[in-house]
């Protein structure tokens, strides 16, 4: 199916989200749509999927104009969409989710479960997706849930499949699996529209790359395009992809974690009590961080990183082991005591844990200090100081917001992260813990966040970075620790080969006294 978008314009009030965008998708191709957050990628796809009506422009399918008033029309025309936030009903089985809306029924509206099950099996087998029809969706890992979404589209005979930021929630391994499936789909004649802001992935999978900026098409490239070229197109200026940083000069020992054990939470999400086999998410973990160095903890998501950070902040109880800061024991200290001791914390889930979305930017900027001078006066808040602080911080950290009074939840991800950094990086910071500091951010914001983190290190702050993005670990870390099933499987210098890290991330044991092979290191450096 040949799909053409011609001069699509979509306005929201005074904001032009899509400004005369034209796009041509040829069958059996992977067409990447690259752009920063807010460039208009998702708006364009919502127009294509019938969720939004364009103000101008037309959609042509095989040369004929088509108009979609609802997703139903788009689905009928052979367009399938895998949303960034999955459109799956969590307590339903895979088969129920796939069949929803196009149920196979016997007379009387009776569900024909057997037929759906067979369809799911067939499709998932044909494209090498291992999806069990009777599994409950909420019990499945994110990667598999995504496959359910793909099956859902294929069952509806999609010949154009839109994937909106499909890798944002995936581990590197899952991403590779997804790419394998995409290639298989492409070989079968399906066109894929791959929306992303990750340059590497786009280069790896796309046949054509269209770059969007501020609602306009600013360029079209074929895959050999360099990262720098694409990044410049996306952002509109040259971007430093790698933070330049001087070698670290580690000073005194700041954070010392010794044989830390964080037990599993007593009640899990589904209300079923923990079973005997439940392993402690952090299970005897030790490391040190010195002043003026960045320790990067690499690992596949879900190996205890979240629990480690929360235990370091006093948000989870510790069963054994110790945590100390500058020689002072903090193992069982309250979060407040830890903040007072000079720990700054950038949590993994910025919307849930880093901000109060309905509070204003100004209020969020004093969440950790509202109760002391100069922001508090007796029992009242000193609103003018809070406002002045907000103006200064917004300027310093280049937070793009309408006003300091705007709710923090209305900001883009990158700007939310800037608000958190502006709050956390004050004077007296001794240790910065940042978990997934750039997850979901666009290139420009990543550059900004990384620069600030390195700046902190250079000022003598001990920095602990937890990230599942190897690129980020390489960009920031002076020393890399790999976490697997709640334990550190090894420490490596920052010039270590990615394959070696991958081995440790998969649970490979540390081999003492064996440095990584020389050629592997030089190969990495050559890249």
């Amino acid at each position: 199916m040949q799909l053409e978008l011609q001069g699509i314009t979509k306005r929201f009030g005074s904001l032009v989200a899509n400004d005369g965008i034209s796009l041509s998708v040829t069958p059996g191709q992977v067409h990447a749509l690259l752009g920063e957050n807010g460039a208009g990628k998702t708006t364009l796809m919502n127009v294509l999927y019938g969720l939004l009506q364009p103000d101008e422009g037309e959609i042509h399918i095989d040369g004929k104009a088509a108009s979609f008033h609802s997703p139903k029309d788009a689905i009928g025309a052979g367009i399938g969409m895998v949303h960034q936030h999955f459109m799956l009903v969590p307590p339903f089985t895979v088969a129920e989710n796939v069949t929803l809306g196009i149920e196979q029924v016997r007379p009387g509206g009776l569900l024909d479960a057997g037929r759906t099950r067979r369809e799911v099996r067939d499709l998932s087998h044909r494209y090498g997706m291992d999806v069990e029809p009777d599994a409950i969706v909420e019990d499945l890992p994110v990667g598999i849930q995504q496959r359910v979404e793909i099956v859902k589209a294929l069952v509806r005979n999609a010949s154009v499949l839109v994937l909106d930021e499909p890798t944002a929630v995936l581990t590197p391994g899952e991403t590779q699996e997804l790419f394998r499936i995409i290639r298989q789909l492409r070989a079968g004649g399906t066109s894929i529209i791959f929306i992303s802001h990750k340059l590497k992935e786009v280069q790896e999978i796309a046949d054509t790359i269209t770059v969007l900026r501020r609602g306009k098409v600013v360029g079209e490239r074929k895959p050999p395009a360099t990262e720098a070229d694409l990044a410049a197109l996306m952002v509109g200026r040259d971007v430093q992809l790698r933070v330049t940083k001087a070698p670290a000069t580690p000073g005194d020992l700041v954070l010392s974690v010794d044989s830390l054990v964080v037990p599993a939470a007593v009640s899990s999400v589904h209300g079923t009590p923990a079973t005997a086999s439940t392993q402690a998410p952090v299970n005897g973990l030790s490391f040190d961080v010195r002043a003026g160095e960045i320790l990067g903890i690499a690992g596949v998501q879900g190996n205890g990183q979240t629990e480690l950070c929360e235990a370091l902040m006093g948000l989870l109880p510790v069963a054994a082991g110790s945590v100390s800061l500058n020689g002072k024991d903090l193992t069982n200290a309250t979060p407040r005591a830890r903040l007072d001791a000079g720990i700054a914390y950038v949590p993994e889930d910025r919307r849930e844990d880093g901000l109060v979305g309905s509070f204003s930017v100004a209020e969020n900027l004093v969440l950790n200090s509202y109760d002391r001078k100069p922001f508090a006066r007796g029992i009242t808040l000193n609103l003018s100081t809070i406002a002045a602080n907000a103006m200064a911080r917004i300027k310093e950290f280049d937070v793009r917001t309408e006003s300091p009074a705007a709710p923090a939840g209305s900001l883009s991800g990158g700007n939310q992260q800037k608000v958190i950094l502006a709050r956390e990086l004050g004077e007296g910071t001794k240790l910065l813990i940042a978990s997934q500091p750039t997850r979901g951010l666009d290139v420009g914001s990543i550059e900004f966040v990384h620069k600030r983190i390195v700046e902190q290190r250079d000022q003598g702050v001990a920095v602990l970075i937890v990230s599942s993005e190897l690129d980020e670990i390489y960009a920031l870390a002076d020393r890399i620790a790999v976490i697997y099933e709640g334990k550190i499987t090894g420490f490596r210098p920052p010039d270590v080969d990615a394959a070696e890290l991958g081995r440790l991330m998969a649970g490979g044991t540390d081999l003492p006294n064996t440095s990584p092979p020389e050629d592997a290191v030089s190969e990495w450096e050559a890249q």
């Binding site: 459109m87 149920e103 079973t275």
Partner: protein, 446 residues
């Protein structure tokens, strides 16, 4: 730099005991409760003297079943001993997790709680039969058939109301207005039957009245996005006031023509109704009980086996997902809430044309709220809701039988029983309930 391989510390970890057992102090809750029940059973035994008689024959029955006469104290002691045994058994996994196999832990817990309650009821019945102070005359045997059939019939409005609640919640709308649906159903059924002389017209009017309340709920909740809890309470207040006003201004002066409906006769199902004990309990009642059976079977089947059910559950869990696959979320919510109102309306009609025979102010007396509770305790499933409703009906009936034979317990204390038992059972059997995710959340297209 060190890579520490410290030994795992499983013994320190909470929740690391036998699979499925609650952790912390909560694991002693069950043995402790059993212990209390066991001691109460034994205490009842110590205060009982003579023989208790249980009767299984309904009144006016042609075939009689011999009464069961048991030594009251012995029965109580036996029940107490068995309960204490269960308490010890329940204690084992709490103190020695590894000593007992964790086989079907959750199932075993439920069965144990059921058995303990059953033993307690037996002991209570035995004790009350010998302790009744019926003015010196010979003790009346406690009639088990009456107890059970009374429970069943008494529960009809709660069961039907709870099923209505299940359909609404599963569609994503909280229906607090069940109480109002019952009350208006009762009111309209009484008037319609009195005025037309036809019970069936009354039944239909009762159902429509429930549906009318459902329509109001749907319009305000779905179209005007009014907070559904506030809305439900307001509707209940509105209907209570409205029916009260109309009762005083119309039904009192014209009581003979407007508030003296006939009631449905008992209709024994041929064949099934003749089974001893079960027949008179389950198959010798008014049409309301049979409607309840049909509604229960139909709704629980439809909710989990049909296209309608799948879509209904989808819009209650994740309406956006349903919308993206072409399901009309709002239309389906309207339809479900309005149609479900019919069921509660029939439940309300039971009050006037199924049992009492006239309308009285606030005659639903909070049973709609009990239905709401039954729906939640029943984990938002039709069967669960009905079983929870029956439990409540049973304890209410037990309480009224005990107070009618003048057992030496203060009547106010007896009135507490349904609630106390409900709390114990819910804490022990039901645990954490997760409702439909989008329940009470209006669906607004952005």
């Amino acid at each position: 730099m060190t890579t520490t391989a410290s030994p795992r510390l499983p013994d320190l970890l909470p929740g690391d005991g036998s699979a499925g057992a609650p952790g912390g102090a909560r694991r002693f809750a069950m043995p402790a409760t059993f212990l209390v029940f066991g001691l109460v059973d034994i205490l009842l035994g110590a205060r009982s003297h003579g023989s208790a008689t249980l009767s299984f024959t309904p009144q006016f029955a042609k075939v009689t079943i011999p009464n069961l006469t048991i030594p009251a104290d012995g029965t109580c002691y036996l029940c107490g001993a068995l309960t204490l045994l269960l308490a010890v058994a329940a204690l084992l996994p709490a103190v020695a997790p590894r000593a007992v196999p964790s086989l079907g832990n959750r199932l075993w817990r439920r069965v144990a709680i059921g058995v303990v309650l059953f033993l307690f009821v037996i002991a209570l019945l035995a004790w009350s039969d010998v302790s009744q102070s019926s003015s010196g005359s010979e003790a009346i045997p406690i009639n088990i058939v009456n107890l059970l059939s009374g429970s069943l019939n008494q529960s009809i409005p709660i069961m039907l109301g709870a099923i209505t609640g299940v359909i609404c919640s599963r569609s994503g709308v909280i229906n607090i207005a069940i109480e109002g649906q019952l009350l208006l159903g009762a009111f309209c059924a009484a008037i319609a039957t009195s005025a037309t002389g036809s019970l069936w017209v009354g039944l239909v009017c009762g159902a429509l009245a429930g549906s009318l309340v459902g329509s109001l709920l749907a319009v305000f909740a779905i179209a005007y996005i009014v907070d559904q809890v506030v809305l439900g309470v307001v509707l209940n207040g509105l209907i209570l006031g409205l029916t009260g006003y109309l009762y005083n201004s119309i039904l009192v002066p014209y009581g003979d023509t407007l508030n003296s409906p006939a009631t449905f006769n008992l209709w024994k199902i041929p064949g099934l109704g003749d089974i001893p004990i079960l027949g008179p309990v389950f198959f010798d009642s008014t049409v309301f009980l049979y409607i309840t059976y049909i509604v229960l079977a139909f709704v629980s089947f439809a909710l989990f086996r049909t296209r309608w059910g799948l879509r209904t559950r989808a819009i209650g869990e994740h309406p956006v997902a349903a919308d993206t696959v072409g399901i009309q979320v709002l239309a389906l919510r309207y339809r479900n809430v309005i149609l479900a109102g019919l069921i509660a309306g029939i439940g309300g009609a039971y009050f006037t044309i199924g049992s009492v025979g006239s309308f009285g102010i606030n005659m639903s007396s909070g049973e709609g709220y009990i239905a709401l509770a039954a729906m939640i305790f029943g984990r938002y499933t039709p069967w669960g809701a009905v079983l929870a409703a029956l439990l409540f009906g049973f304890t209410t009936q037990l309480q009224s039988i005990l107070s009618s034979i003048n057992v030496p317990i203060q009547s106010n204390l007896l009135l507490l029983t349904p609630y106390v038992v409900t709390i114990i059972v819910v804490a022990g059997l039901v645990g954490k309930v997760r409702g439909p995710k989008a329940e009470g959340v209006p669906y607004v297209k952005s």
